[in-house]
């Protein structure tokens, strides 16, 4: 802050008058990590180690903020995006986050990846009152504003997705006999809970068989055989990519042809369906919220073109077929919008306030009609998905947008 002289006061008058119309901009208030020229954002991501494929997300976000800075920043402030490698190891996340908060002095933490890694710092950031925004994990615990007012999720959580499938089943297969295969951990259980909550009173009669598997199991063959024997005619497949491919293959092998709903975790064409055999995967149902960059239907879409131009100009090395670049681009835009609305009041309180009052935010790579919404009691920005059916070549969207709002 310069000295206050008559000249600076006079010079400030026209500016102050124009700002008077926008009360949010009239007062500049800063917490650590924000100033007239800069906003510091902290981030961790696995760039090395077993989960390093997710590193693309962090690189996309860095490229996005570079673009923002080239265009003059947000409300005239440049973004300093500080991203560290945590190798998906919780102790390393704790170390890096403490570095970001205590040494680099970031205003907020953004889109840190992983359930165990974020769990490790959950308490710490809430004690320190650091905004912990748009966490890159589908666990339901990131939407608990009552107990953890500083942590907020981003993508539709697993329970929401389970509810969306339940809504679809109730509408289209109200008499289905449902068999569930799920991974025996919090991720799998979240999905099953969502499904059962969505089915409500009918859950008990409709779900005829449930088979858990452990990630240590070599195959899920025996579970599939058990589920088939239950006489079910609808199969809810809550598995991670490797097991999803096994399950799809096994279904074809034993000639079981139920209505097949596959969780979005494993709906990658390249990673899962190809391995299972595309012909075996025909007619599988799933849900999604982002535009698939490989789908020719978006060729002339304005949002797709915007993303494509960004990729060309600012992230030419990025994988254009990967959903991760779409994901990183979209979530970074959401943060930019929150910071935009903060105006000159870049306090941690206000960042949280703005993040918890997102209203019908539409972003270029979200499916048309899907909007981000939050409130002080709703910390799940995205809770809508659209159903899609696999044609044998690619996913084809159908039906309306379905909302599965899980409040915790």
């Amino acid at each position: 802050m310069g000295r206050l002289t008559r000249r600076t006061v006079l010079a400030a008058i026209p500016g102050a008058m124009s700002l008077a119309a926008l009360p949010a901009y009239s007062k500049k208030k800063y917490d650590t990590g924000a100033s007239d020229s800069e906003i510091r954002i902290g981030h961790t991501n696995p760039y090395s180690g077993p989960a390093s494929t997710y590193g693309v997300i962090g690189k996309t976000e860095a490229a996005f903020f570079n673009m923002i800075n080239e265009q003059g920043g947000i409300n005239g402030r440049k973004i300093r995006f500080i991203s560290y490698d945590d190798a998906y190891s919780p102790p390393k996340t704790v170390e890096q986050v403490r570095k970001l908060v205590e040494s680099d002095g970031v205003l907020l933490l953004f889109n840190m990846l992983g359930t165990p890694t974020n769990t490790a710092i959950h308490k710490y950031v809430n004690q320190k009152k650091i905004p912990h925004l748009f966490i890159a994990s589908g666990a339901t615990k990131w939407g608990d504003p009552k107990n953890f007012a500083w942590s907020m999720g981003w993508q539709p959580n697993y329970q929401s997705e389970g509810q969306i499938y339940a809504a679809y089943i109730m509408q289209n297969y109200p008499n289905a006999k449902i068999a569930v295969l799920y991974q025996n951990d919090d991720y799998g259980k979240d999905y099953v809970k969502g499904l059962k909550d969505g089915l409500g009173d009918k859950a008990r009669s409709m779900v005829v068989s449930e088979a858990p598997y452990e990630t240590t199991d070599p195959t899920v063959d025996s579970q599939i055989v058990t589920l088939k024997a239950s006489g079910a005619d609808l199969f809810f497949n809550v598995t991670t990519p490797k097991f999803a491919a096994q399950a799809i293959k096994k279904l074809a092998e034993i000639g079981w042809k139920p209505v097949h709903i596959l969780n979005s975790v494993s709906n990658s064409v390249g990673g899962v369906l190809k391995a299972a055999g595309l012909e075996n995967a025909k007619d599988i149902l799933s849900a999604h919220y982002l535009k698939d960059p490989t789908d020719p239907a978006w060729k002339d879409d304005a949002g797709y073109k915007q993303w494509s131009a960004f990729m060309d100009a600012h992230f030419p090395d990025g994988d254009r077929t990967s959903s991760f670049t779409v994901y990183g681009y979209t979530v970074a835009q959401a943060l930019a919008s929150v910071l935009q609305r903060c105006g000159g009041d870049l306090t941690r309180d206000n960042v949280m306030k703005q993040a918890a009052s997102i209203k019908d935010l539409e972003l270029p790579m979200l499916l048309p009609g899907i909007k981000a919404n939050t409130s002080p009691t709703d910390y799940f920005p995205l809770s809508q998905l659209r159903m899609q059916r696999f044609t044998g070549e690619r996913w084809k969207l159908f039906g309306p947008i379905i909302t599965g709002a899980v409040q915790s």
Binding site: S89, P90, V94, V101, E102, P116, T119, D185
Partner: protein
């Protein structure tokens, strides 16, 4: 201990005492982790450096110690300082039992067997029948220990001093052990197992005991690490941790107690340095630094210091003579 070694130790301890009062709480936390990793590497050093048995599985003992502490604090509200002896005893027992079949294995075969232990650890921790205890993939969040009321310290500083005290105690124990009759027997087995047996040393007993003591040290380090990080999860204890401990061992100096701490510092700080140079090439730079260090100090930091001190002494000796 020779005079210069003793002097260096005294200087290091004196320097360590005021450190947390001078640096930020984040750096204090990092220094605490350096000591934790140093202690874990010391455990590995007892086994590999002094007894000549390889282990690629010490990450598993570290994880076991960490979980022992976390479960005791979380389920039974045991005070944090009481968890260390329990974690140590548990790891000693498991290490001793694992050491028995490992007797049949030598060198790289033992390394492979211990590697299996490290690879299995995260999956065992996720195993559903154990979930009521371990919290499954969710892990366990534990509260940070408060400093005693009569001390004007914050939680990070207190934890630093607590860790320092445990470290000094255990270093003294290790130093005494290797200088004792038992220690000479342990090293004799490393140098020539047949000759050692011929001298009447019960090699099987000493080897399994060393395995147990080594696991004890690493387990106590794991418990301290869990208290410092305040969280344990299966993904914290993958086989990469075992590799890191081995790297720290070699960099610090095989068969050196102070070298273990240098190894701890390397394991914690050098990946950060590598990342600061280039995020994309962090792995390659880490590798390059590692190669460089091994090239310059082929016997690790401890060997390097020993040579440097010897040169200094010779130079002084020559100067006095002339």
């Amino acid at each position: 201990m020779t005079f210069p070694a003793r002097a260096v130790t005294a200087v290091a301890v004196v320097a360590a005492l005021p450190a947390p009062l001078l640096v930020s709480s984040f750096v204090t936390f990092q220094l605490t982790l350096v000591m934790v990793y140093g202690l874990a590497i010391l455990g590995l050093n007892l086994l590999t450096g002094f007894n000549g048995q390889f282990s690629l599985g010490h990450g598993a003992f570290y994880g076991l110690g960490a979980y022992a502490a976390a479960v005791l604090i979380d389920r039974w509200e045991v005070p944090y300082f009481c968890t260390l002896p329990v974690a140590g005893a548990l790891c000693f027992a498991v290490g001793f039992l694992f050491g028995m079949p490992a007797l049949r294995l030598q060198g790289i075969y033992l390394a492979l067997a211990t590697f299996a232990l490290a690879a299995a650890m995260p999956q065992i921790l996720k195993f559903s029948p154990l979930e009521p205890l371990t919290g499954g993939v969710q892990g366990i969040v534990i509260a940070k220990p408060d400093p005693p009321l009569w001390l004007p310290l914050d939680a990070d500083q207190w934890l630093y001093y607590f860790t320092l005290a445990v470290l000094l105690l255990m270093c003294a124990g290790a130093a005494n052990l290797v200088r004792s009759r038992t220690g000479r027997a342990i090293m004799a087995i490393r140098d020539d197992p047949i000759a050692a047996a011929a001298m009447g040393i019960n090699t099987a007993l000493y080897k399994t005991l060393t395995f147990g003591v080594s696991a004890l040290y690493t387990g106590v380090a794991g418990a301290l690490g869990a208290i410092a990080v305040q969280f344990v999860a299966p993904d914290s204890f993958t086989f990469l941790l075992s590799i890191s401990l081995l790297v720290g061992l070699v960099i610090g100096g095989v068969g050196s107690i102070p070298g273990s701490l240098v190894g701890g510092a390397f394991v914690l700080f050098v990946p950060n340095v590598a990342e600061a140079v280039s995020t994309g090439l962090a792995g390659a730079i880490y590798g390059a630094i590692m190669l460089l260090v091994i090239f310059v100090m082929p016997t690790g930091a401890a060997g390097f210091a020993r040579i440097a001190l010897a040169r200094l002494a010779t130079a002084r000796h020559n100067r006095v003579k002339s």
